[in-house]
Symmetry: C2
Subunit: 336 residues, 2 copies
């Protein structure tokens, strides 16, 4: 369909929620009514959309029967608590919170186009992949004509905005305290993040894997249709406000043709390849951009089946909000 639809943004006061609203306007998404939802504490705030102020309302009391599509960007607990009633009201869901199992809400990479779409019946649920999965899957899907991966190693150096607004405030506060020689009192995270790296995001299971790492692996496998691909992921938090950096190592089934790799990355939609010798950074290149930045493309020193590269991407924009809007653009053509 191409007529306008009613949309709800759940978590509208988050960084991701605000970016969603901006992008719906910027990309002229066919929005009829826009409903902005958050906790009852934010009710009464407003955001600008197409030149007018839209009030934020409380999610709890909101009736979804008049809404065709809801973006969930309010944390996984909110998704878990509300998605059933949203779908029961006939509203489809794009979940940005990684709360829903991938069997129930398959993840979609918009760059794959209609071919990447799972079979869905309205109202459907889909997952917007986590930012690191978006970046890795986009690069690997681009390279699929010349590269069949046998194993992946991802070291994801995630910006503190991964923890939301409170994470951003924590890094700013800790940094200022340290520079002013005041004693450090960690709050949002349990230890020093300013001028330090945290090797783990959230709790780990009894095998030592964090939820985010398992999700990243599962999303990459699903997006690439390689359910058996071994993905070793390490997700760490770094003292960067916005923008993720990924060191991606790929072990391929045969020797890598590095110039073919570069040519594919050069022309790919959604990817900006940084010239050899230079490299992209999260803050200097990726933040605020729609592309995923790729650099340091190289083969193993001694093993021609080894490919390494560095990816910088905006976790809030391309990693979350833009990607979700692109998913919506693709899905409304087919399934709404």
């Amino acid at each position: 369909m191409s007529q306008s639809i009613n949309i709800a943004v759940i978590g509208a006061t988050s960084n991701v929620g605000e970016a969603l609203v901006e992008l719906l306007e910027e990309r002229e998404f066919p929005v009829k009514d826009l409903h902005l939802l958050a906790s009852s504490e934010s009710a009464g705030q407003s955001l600008s959309f197409r030149g007018r102020q839209v009030r934020v309302r409380s999610l709890d009391a909101f009736d979804f029967t008049q809404v065709q599509l809801a973006f969930f960007a309010a944390g996984s607990e909110v998704t878990r608590a509300h998605h059933e009633r949203v779908v029961a009201a006939g509203c489809s869901v794009i979940d940005l919170s990684a709360a829903l199992p991938l069997e129930q809400a398959p993840c979609v990479l918009p760059e794959l186009g209609a071919e990447g779409l799972p079979a869905l019946t309205t109202p459907w649920r889909v997952s917007a992949p986590t930012p690191s999965a978006v970046a890795c899957a986009l690069v690997l899907a681009t390279l699929s004509p010349v590269l069949r991966p046998e194993q992946l190693q991802v070291t994801a150096m995630l910006s503190i905005s991964t923890l939301g607004r409170s994470g951003v405030q924590e890094l700013a506060r800790q940094t200022a305290e340290l520079l002013n020689g005041r004693p450090l009192e960690p709050k949002t995270v349990d230890r020093q993040i300013a001028f330090n790296l945290l090797a783990q995001v959230g709790e780990v299971d009894d095998q030592g894997h964090a939820q985010l790492e398992k999700r990243l692996a599962a999303e990459i496998q699903q997006l690439l249709s390689l359910p058996e691909l071994p993905v070793a992921a390490t997700c760490a938090l770094v003292p960067v406000f916005f923008g993720d950096s990924l060191a991606l190592g790929v072990y391929a089934d045969s020797a890598i043709d590095i110039s073919a790799v570069q040519q594919l990355l050069e022309v790919a939609q959604g990817i900006e390849l940084v010239e050899a010798g230079d490299y992209p950074t999260a803050v200097g290149d990726a933040v605020g951009q729609d592309q995923v930045y790729v650099g340091r493309v190289r083969r193993g020193v001694s093993d021609p089946r080894q490919l390494n590269l560095w990816i910088a991407s905006d976790n809030v924009r391309k990693g979350a909000a833009l990607n979700a809007v692109q998913i919506a653009e693709l899905l409304i053509k087919h399934y709404l």
Copy 2:
């Protein structure tokens, strides 16, 4: 020999040089005369050693004939310019600057003991491995009874002190400028390092590999006596003052026995294993310590031959100065 020897520390005014002097005192190294050398600009400064002030002198005019052992910690150019005349004067060399080829100056991991020593004739040259190589090789040598690596992936997230005192100043200055809303003017590094990650240290060759990455790979291969082991290394700079963080991925020749791995790490000399569920950080754990901290020890989610772990170590102390002093302690027993 166990009698005292005359020692020179070249680059005595660097962080590494100062740590060397401290450790020679702390560990009661058999020092007869200690000569502190730096550029002519530092001549006249002094450092405390065993309760008295030792003057720093200019390297250029210094005569090495009365010295038995010189530590080179003044950058690779200084090593290249001076090591020949030092050795010609009969003085042995421990190079901390990664300037000398490993064939000429083999690298030594002191934890391997006498068995790890190459055959040397006095005056000899040895290389103190770079901090990331020290950490990786120590962990892998510890695990060698139960783990035969077929491939390594190292993502080394290096603190800015890797660039010396000027790097430390740069991060402090850039951070203060940004927090005070002043425009950023990068100096020591060519772009923003505060709240950002730099994907590359120094120039890269035409294959895209940085010198430091090739050195790291070659040192690990030499230290483990696995000259063919493929090592894919990415060295990046992170906005941390002191202490390196490494994400190490190992692909082994058979399924990994994770409890055997943990047991070996638990009892190893020079390693502090952090309990499962917790993780070490550079700033909170490693800095100022003699041990390399290891955590997040886990097998691949889907591939039992995959091992991943996180290492935090003090790049100035264990990574450079302590390791060099430990090498000296081992070598003077055999070769001086």
